[in-house]
């Protein structure tokens, strides 16, 4: 995509500083449904699978097989905790390499048995810890993307909260990428961006505005394919309704993707990402 005129006009029209920061706050709302909340509501059965078969099990990523509207689907999603204890247990939704390796194990299984893959993205980023680095954080994130890129089964990803940095994208390579209405997708958290560019994490609101992380902005930039509506006021107001709306959107995408021949689908997925970017030649 060269010099995208459409996004530019669109972005210029968008409102002031409040917009983006409001989206950040809603995306992080503590009462928002998390991955397991959605799975409990829109799967008729779900069995969580554990462990990466090498190092351990990462509670910040949930993976497993679910029965979704009459077919088996492999689900992988970031998981945050609601109370203090749960938050610490889930490591605030920040995965370690074991989490990505568990995800890869389940992607591979789905590819082999022909189950569609659905990923739910909700993370402030991959965990920046000494051990995580030593166990290969970068390699795990890169390989997870590569595996998703080459799967022969349909893949749908949806941002259901915070989609921050490579920690989010690691499970975000898909045929169709969705974002719920009040979520964000960004290269770095507004706080991190502010700390680097403004040398002051307190400038997070300005950074949020500059980063354009909202769903409409991502749609205009060609990064996502569809915005999934939420109940009035946001998903945290009505979990049941939010799950219905998300489930419907995913089901519709899966139905469409099922009509494409596997190799063609895979080629289109790769092409979709190869076309992303804005440059002048």
């Amino acid at each position: 995509m060269t010099a995208p005129e459409r996004p530019r006009r669109f972005l210029r029209r968008r409102g002031g500083d409040g917009d983006a920061w409001h989206a950040v706050e809603l995306a992080r709302h503590q009462d928002r449904p998390y991955t397991l909340d959605y799975l409990a509501r829109f799967c008729d059965d779900f069995v969580e699978l554990h462990g990466d078969r090498a190092e351990g099990d990462d509670p910040a990523i949930v993976a497993g097989l679910g029965s979704f509207r009459g077919q088996t689907v492999a689900f992988v999603g970031h998981q945050k905790g609601r109370d203090l204890k749960q938050r610490a247990y889930r490591n605030f939704g920040m995965p370690r390499p074991e989490g990505y390796r568990k995800a890869m194990r389940v992607f591979e299984l789905a590819g082999r048995l022909g189950f569609p893959v659905v990923t739910l993205i909700d993370t402030p980023g991959a965990y920046p810890g000494v051990g995580a680095e030593q166990r290969g954080q970068s390699g795990a994130i890169a390989r997870s993307q590569l595996l998703l890129m080459g799967l022969n089964v349909p893949v749908v990803a949806c941002v259901i909260g915070e989609g921050s940095s490579g920690g989010a994208l690691a499970i975000g390579v898909a045929d169709r990428v969705l974002m719920q209405q009040h979520t964000i997708y960004t290269v770095i958290s507004p706080e991190g961006c502010a700390a680097i560019l403004w040398k002051d994490a307190g400038e997070a609101k300005r950074a949020a505005t500059a980063l354009r992380p909202t769903a409409p902005a991502c749609l205009a930039l060609g990064v996502i394919d569809q915005i999934v509506p939420e109940p009035g006021g946001g998903a945290h107001r009505d979990h049941a309704k939010a799950a219905d709306m998300l489930g419907d959107a995913i089901a519709a995408e899966l139905e469409f993707l099922d009509t494409l021949p596997p190799l063609e689908r895979r080629r289109l997925r790769r092409q979709k990402f190869e076309r992303m970017g804005a440059f002048i030649e």
Partner: protein, 322 residues
């Protein structure tokens, strides 16, 4: 993403008022052992401190001279420029930052791509330049990696990348993030076409570059002492309050933990890439040319500054005095 870049290669002394000599004095002083070198010595030593082995940073142009056969480099996609799709403004507008970086480095973005020969074998080559906005990956770097992969597939060559990057370019927002997936897609194409890929990691390779194409080489080589991590040590310390070991994220630590194949000092890098490229090509072994240790620094320097794309050892007079 590029939460931190713990590397101190700010272009000290290039501000107005300071002479070229003063600039060189700071830039060419070894931070590890305080030895100081003239610019010509730096060039002939491939910017490795002969006293302690410290590897100074290398610009993309100089890296290409160091790595490729004389006169074999041919650049593609030279005219790619970043478009400011987000109209990003922090303390300065993004286009202003781009322009300043262009003037400072003479590059259009943080990567050069093209074809070259290494040890007589044609390769597609992509080299990053840390001096251009911290080697950050935006739409142009993503597209260049993609084109380098396409070139490799088209001409049935291996792909060689040399990374030096703080990570994704924040000023391009989520589009910068997507360049990770884009470069991964390029690697996926390479693999489908059975083209081998050698990834060389220089100091520093962190964030979005470390977690995309740079990690996916069939063979991954690092330079000694290079910082190779997803998050930098300062972010780790601040976020987790953990004690960060002295060798955190360094090439040596990555080697110990099994994340890279080899650590190769810069003077041996060209030969190692050539040997691997020949082995991966599946044919005859690479035959190492006779190297000439007596380097005519002054001449080599003149050639490089004059823009000649030559390998230093190749451009020197024959040892036998020819």
């Amino acid at each position: 993403m590029a939460k931190e870049i713990s590397v101190d290669i700010s272009r000290v002394g290039t501000e107005a008022g300071q002479t070229e000599t003063a600039a060189n004095r700071t830039r060419n002083t070894c931070p590890r052992c305080d030895s100081h070198y003239r610019e010509e010595e730096m060039v002939t030593n491939l910017r490795v401190c002969p006293h302690c082995g410290y590897h100074f940073p290398v610009t993309a142009r100089e890296r290409i001279v160091q790595l490729t056969d004389e006169g074999s480099w041919s650049e593609i996609a030279r005219e790619l420029h970043s478009a400011d799709a987000l109209e990003f403004v922090d303390t300065r507008p993004y286009p202003e930052r781009l322009q300043a970086a262009e003037q400072q480095t003479g590059l259009n973005d943080a990567m050069l791509v093209g074809s070259a020969e290494i040890g007589g074998l044609p390769v597609a080559l992509a080299v990053m330049d840390f001096t251009f906005l911290g080697g950050s990956m935006g739409s142009v770097v993503g597209e260049k990696v993609f084109r380098a992969a396409e070139l490799a597939i088209e001409r049935r060559m291996p792909l060689v990348t040399v990374s030096a990057s703080g990570g994704a370019r924040m000023q391009e927002g989520v589009l910068a993030l997507m360049q990770m997936a884009k470069t991964v897609a390029a690697v996926d194409e390479l693999r489908e076409a059975d083209r081998p890929y050698i990834s060389v990691l220089a100091h520093p390779t962190t964030g979005g570059v470390a977690a995309s194409f740079a990690a996916l080489g069939d063979v991954v080589i690092a330079e000694p002492g290079a910082l190779l991590s997803f998050s930098g040590p300062r972010v780790v310390r601040q976020t987790t309050r953990e004690d960060v070991p002295d060798d955190f994220g360094l090439a040596e630590s990555n080697f110990r933990h099994g994340h890279i194949d080899l650590i190769v000092p810069r003077p041996e890098l060209r030969d190692m890439v050539a040997r691997l490229a020949w082995l991966l090509a599946g044919g005859n072994p690479y035959r190492r040319p006779t190297l000439i240790p007596d380097l005519g620094a002054q001449r080599a320097m003149g050639r490089i500054l004059g823009g000649a794309r030559r390998r230093i050892t190749d451009m020197l007079p024959d040892r036998d005095g020819a």
